[in-house]
Every structure is written in C-alpha cells, then in structure tokens.
C-alpha cells in the first residue's frame, strides 16, 4: 500500500492521540515520497524535541522505510494555541 498524506495523517491521529495533524506532500513530482508534518499532541508535554521526534519516527516506522524525505514539527496543544495567535 503506497504511503500517502492521508495514510500518514490517519496513523498519527490514531496511534499518537494527536489533537491536530497536518500533512503536506512536498514531493516535487507528486510520487508521494516527501512529506512535511505538523503534529499537535498532548503526549509531547514535558518531552524534549528529540524525544518527540523519536515518538513520531516510531509511529511511522513502516512509512519511513518507503519515503525519501521527511520533515516534522511537534507541538503541545499549548504551543499550538500560542503559535496560532502569533
């Protein structure tokens, strides 16, 4: 099953209890191999950046094997609200 923005979004929402997920396919020729992800999840609270990113990496282990490039931004709900108001 090919990796799509939709499949990534669903997996993150389902497995990480994320309250907000945005997935952008950044592949230049739209072959679904490059993604940019924003994840807002209460489980990130109190965790340093590296740990947050590793949580996401673990959740998407299978997908990451298929895709070429991956960017991620991990925020707690509080950080997300703050960013929205800026």
């Amino acid at each position: 099953m090919p990796v799509t923005a939709e499949s990534i979004r669903n997996k993150l929402a389902a497995e990480m209890g994320a309250v907000h997920v945005e997935v952008e396919d950044t592949t230049t020729d739209h072959c679904s191999t490059s993604f940019k992800v924003l994840i807002v999840c209460p489980q990130f609270e109190g965790k340093p950046l590296l740990q947050r990113h590793r949580m996401v990496n673990t959740c998407l282990t299978e997908e990451l094997k298929e895709i070429h490039a991956f960017e991620q931004k991990t925020l707690t709900p509080e950080q997300w609200e703050k960013q929205k108001s800026e």
Partner: protein
C-alpha cells in the same frame, strides 16, 4: 530569525547531479570518508568518530557543496553561528556509512548532528533550536561562542 526560515524553505529542493570531491575550503574540517567501513560498520567505529570532534555532522555533500536542501540548512545554520571548525562526513561517498549512521542513532534520515558525541537531531530540530535560542546555549556548553551573540550586542548598541 524569519529570514533563515524563508531561506531554508527555499532550499528544500532535492539535490541532484553527480557528486564530485569538492576542495576543502573556508576552514571547514571536511573529511572524506573513503571506505571507512568495509561491510556493516562496527558501532564502536562510529562511536569513536562522533567523539573525535565537538560538532560532528553527517550530510549529503560537503559544507562547501551540500547536495540536499536539508543538509544545506544544517551547514547554513552552523555558519550563521560562526561555527566553522567541525567535522563533516559525506554519506553519499559511502553507502555503508549512510546506512550505518542511521542504524547507530536509530534515526531514519540524513542530515544528522552530534554535539560532544551525543545525537542532537536532524535539520528540523537544529532549526527549531536556532529559532528558540537553544542552539546558542548548547554551543556555549561546548565552549563555542555563537557569532549571533555578538551580532545581537551590535544591534543593541545602535
């Protein structure tokens, strides 16, 4: 701060083209890793490599000639902070290194940044650390005075 973000967003295009050995310039300690690993790299070889220098990066290409937008972003961020004495390893040179470093850090992508032998993260993390001021602090812990501290001082004088 926003300028770098715009710059790095513009740089996020996949690099293509034939890689060739660029000259070591601008005082960068660019090491060519030629056949450092014959087969699967031993953990301790990489373990030693990342401890040899305070700042170690594994990128695609070289600081003089990065071959990928994310790797370039790492090089640019370090340059902005005036960090030009660091070890850089080109994973395009050696497929065993390219896979080995991913297994070693249990991290799926390149570039990879290490401070004092400890894995820091990839381009996203370095960028966020740069934007929120953490990078200046981490460099200070390494005994590296960030150039941006001087830049800020100049601004305040005006």
């Amino acid at each position: 701060m926003n300028n770098l973000f715009r710059l790095s967003v513009g740089l996020f295009r996949s690099g293509t083209g034939v890689y060739r050995l660029g000259p070591v310039s601008e005082g960068h300690a660019s090491l060519v890793v030629a056949r450092l690993f014959s087969s699967a790299p031993e953990n301790n070889e990489l373990g030693q490599l990342i401890k040899k220098d305070k700042v170690v990066v594994f990128i695609k290409g070289t600081p003089a000639q990065p071959m990928c937008g994310f790797s370039n972003a790492v090089v640019q961020i370090l340059r902005m902070h005036g960090v030009d004495d660091y070890a850089s390893y080109n994973v395009l040179e050696d497929q065993d290194l390219r896979q080995g470093v991913k297994d070693f850090s249990n991290w799926p992508t390149i570039p990879q940044v290490y401070f004092n032998g400890e894995f820091v993260g990839g381009c996203d993390i370095l960028l966020q650390m740069h934007q929120n001021g953490d990078l200046v602090e981490e460099l200070k812990k390494l005994g590296i005075h960030s150039a941006l501290l001087d830049a800020n001082k100049d601004e305040q004088k005006k």
